[in-house]
């Protein structure tokens, strides 16, 4: 009976609840959250997210038994003007349900973790009032993400797309009075939003072109439309692909729009884990996978995507090598891994890309949350070590200030190690399988791409080793690290769950079993699994171990001392500086984009607007004044002057009459 119920197709109508549960959660917290107390408030938010997960799971079960074409459920009409018909439609298919599960699953774990983390964080930042606000934002985020993945039209996807951008903005700026000069976080938030907006511009233009070409924004109708013919049609398809790519580079932090993600680390760590590692940033990958039929229409579009992803993967990995901030390393690592995913979906390896997306969600969320655990543990140590001199500048995120934590924070250490190994791509952890699949595809695509991705994988293993050693091994380099303490179970239990997932996540799509492949094939047609190759797997594994070994070679043999120069810097010199300074991308943007815009605005606002345009308008006024003053001179008040005027007039009229 129960089985029958949950496998029935009617269950799929519940889809809108993945949006409503978080909405209800956030409304409860918005209205009475402050009165509920921290535990209850966080609990409600977690419950809302958890219920969304349960709903998604029910959908999964039901969908498994009803494998026919995508199910679309209409909630309400939205915009209906002439040919533009967009509704609040939810799409249930394997791809969307997969994303829902990842989002709500990882999301719920992070919610639970945040109950503990934020408890300490709001006290560290001296504003406990803001506790509830955090969970409101988090639920809003889950809601927006659900809209993004469950949408049936590009426009509705776009709502979620910008909605998560908003949440990202709010959460990066959560401590908006903190950061450099008291506005650092606020500026980082703004930067994230605006950079994302540039990407969204691409999304918008792509949508307009899609609408113009296919006459609809609904996935079903667009994908059913078929490849446009003719020279123009070809260019339109390429245009759509490229503008979608721009959107992807914005949201998924690819070249050239990745700059916001490292700064986004200003947000509380659970935010970095949920939004800036596991879910939101993967929306770009999802978008490409979702738009697979469009990308399949041209060869150039997906190639561009693949190359952007590949280059980003390598580029970001090099920067990660030179960072000292524990979260920045992870941030660049995320960019790099997103590059892998984007490259995968660009190559047409949609399943591989989605697979990596899932495993990455597990281990990167794990890494970030553990990093948060480290930071809070060290903050604890800092507060207990520095009773007197409280205001001394101390950065708990700087890896140079840490060290030796493996003894003090045992759980955190072990789960971190699991995450790092999974990221490095060590078999049989989750990361190995997904990354291997991508690399295998790359070999079939282009040897250079293959080489670049392998190199990126090598760097990945290298910087993770570097990080693990700097943070957990050696001696504690500061009193704070000395006094670090493990966190309560509310934080460690989600870590352990994630660690387990990171270990076994690879089972989702084992070679020759390919569960995920078959599951997603129902939605994304014409994707074939890469032939599992022991050679490639061996090479990939060797690269991972090579990275780890060389990491150990530089950072493991000798303990890091406070104030020392990075050993790699001694070897690489200026090249390392390039990595450390992030290739000066921010500076380049500043000089070539921001400053010109500011200058142009200043010119428009002051000389053009005030002087030229307003001046012209006022000038007209002044001219009128001058003319009237000039005419006023004629108005002498002497009657005889007026008489002269009359007389002149008489003469003139006479003259006219004569000569007529």
């Amino acid at each position: 009976m129960l089985i029958e119920t949950i496998t029935s197709v009617r269950i799929l109508q519940l889809v809108s609840w993945v949006v409503f549960f978080p909405l209800i959660g956030l409304l409860i917290n918005l209205v009475i959250g402050r009165k509920l107390g921290e535990r209850l408030s966080g609990g409600i938010a977690s419950l809302a997210s958890g219920l969304a997960f349960v709903t998604a799971f029910l959908l999964l079960v039901s969908l498994n038994s009803n494998p026919e074409a995508p199910h679309v459920y209409r909630l309400a009409e939205w915009i209906n003007i002439g040919s533009l018909v967009v509704n609040w439609d939810f799409r249930v298919d394997t791809l969307s349900v997969t994303m829902m599960l990842v989002v709500s699953g990882v999301g719920t774990l992070i919610h639970v973790y945040a109950i503990g983390y934020m408890h300490a964080d709001v006290r560290l930042n001296k504003d406990p009032e803001r506790y509830t606000r955090f969970f409101i934002y988090m639920n809003l985020f889950i809601m927006m993400m659900m809209i993004l993945v469950s949408a049936e039209s590009y426009l509705m996807t776009f709502i979620g797309w910008e909605g998560v951008g908003l949440c990202s903005y709010l959460l990066i700026g959560f401590w908006f009075e903190k950061g450099k000069d008291g506005v650092g976080n606020a500026i980082a938030a703004k930067k994230a939003f605006i950079t994302n907006r540039v990407g969204d511009f691409g999304f918008l233009v792509a949508m307009f072109m899609i609408f113009l070409q296919f006459g609809s924004l609904d996935f079903t109708r667009v994908f059913a439309a078929g490849t446009p013919t003719g020279e123009l049609g070809k260019w339109v398809v390429i245009g759509i692909s490229l503008f979608l790519l721009l959107a992807v580079t914005g949201k998924s932090a690819q070249l050239p729009l990745f700059v916001w993600l490292p700064d986004a680390m200003a947000g509380p760590t659970p935010v970095s884990a949920l939004i800036h590692a596991a879910t939101m940033v993967t929306a770009g990958v999802y978008l490409v996978a979702r738009s697979a039929p469009i990308f399949a229409m041209s060869a150039f579009g997906p190639d561009a995507v693949a190359w952007v992803g590949t280059i980003t993967a390598l580029f970001a990995a090099t920067i990660a090598i030179g960072q000292y901030d524990i979260k920045k390393v992870l941030a660049y690592s995320t960019i790099s891994q997103l590059g892998f995913m984007v490259a995968a979906v660009g190559m047409g390896a949609y399943v591989a890309g989605m697979f990596h997306l899932i495993t990455h969600a597990f281990f990167k969320a794990l890494l970030f949350l553990s990093a948060g655990s480290v930071i809070q543990g060290v903050e604890y140590g800092h507060h207990h070590a520095q009773h007197v001199d409280h205001h001394v500048e101390f950065d708990p995120q700087d890896m140079r200030n840490l060290g030796g934590l493996s003894r003090r924070m045992k759980v955190t250490f072990w789960v971190y190690l699991v995450g790092a190994l999974a990221l490095a791509g060590v078999a049989p952890l989750a990361g190995f399988f997904s990354k291997d699949e991508i690399v295998t595809f790359a070999l079939g695509k282009h040897p250079v791409m293959f080489g670049m991705l392998l190199l990126a994988a090598f760097f990945t293993a290298f910087y993770m080793t570097r990080q693990v050693w700097m943070v957990f091994f050696g001696n504690a380099r500061t009193e704070a690290a000395e006094g670090a303490k493990e966190n309560p179970p509310v934080m460690t239990v989600p870590l352990i769950v994630l660690a387990v997932l990171s270990i076994v996540g690879g089972a989702l799509n084992l070679p020759h079993v390919e569960t995920l492949q078959h599951w997603l094939e129902r939605t994304i047609h014409g994707v074939h699994p890469a032939e599992f190759s022991f050679v490639v797997a061996g090479v990939s594994l060797a690269v991972a171990f090579g990275g780890i070994l060389s990491g150990w070679f530089f950072y493991g043999r000798k303990h890091w001392e406070l104030g020392q120069v990075d050993p790699l810097k001694k070897l690489l010199g200026p090249v390392f500086t390039v990595f450390e300074r992030k290739w000066w991308v921010d500076e380049i943007y500043n000089v070539f984009v921001l400053q010109p815009y500011k200058d142009a605005s200043a010119i428009l606002a002051e000389p053009i607007d005030q002087k030229l345009i307003d001046g012209t308008a006022n000038g007209l006024g002044k001219l009128t004044g001058l003319v009237s003053r000039g005419l006023g001179l004629l108005q002498t008040g002497f009657v005889r002057t007026y008489a002269l005027m009359i007389f002149i007039g008489v003469a003139a009229i006479l003259g006219y009459l004569i000569t007529r």
Binding site: Q635, T636, G637, F638, V639, R640, A643, L644, F647
Partner: protein
């Protein structure tokens, strides 16, 4: 031919009229201005009478009569004004009478 062309009278009238106008415009003494004004009336009257003769119609002369009456009235009032102004200001130079302007 004992006739005189009409044009001669008109030209004479025009000359007198212009002289009168020049007087009005250039002189600063209101008395002279009034006299010039009278000259202009006179010029106009001359035309009336000339046309009256040319057309053999007496109506023109009636108008001259009316013009004279009005001129007389105007002179009476005008001179009274001048006297009043002279009493108020001690001078009748009209360049000093520009209180209309600011």
């Amino acid at each position: 031919m004992n006739t005189i062309p009409m044009s001669y009278f008109l030209v004479l009238s025009a000359i007198m009229f212009s002289l009168g106008a020049i007087g009005v415009i250039t002189r600063r003494n209101p008395l002279v201005i009034f006299m010039s004004l009278e000259l202009m009336f006179n010029a106009a009257n001359l035309t009336f009478v000339a046309f009256s003769n040319a057309f053999g119609n007496a109506n023109g002369q009636i108008f001259v009569f009316f013009v004279m009456v009005v001129a007389a009235a105007e002179v009476a009032v005008g001179l009274a004004l001048i006297v009043a102004i002279f009493r108020a200001r001690g001078s009748i130079d009209i360049d000093l009478m520009s209180s209309m302007k600011n």
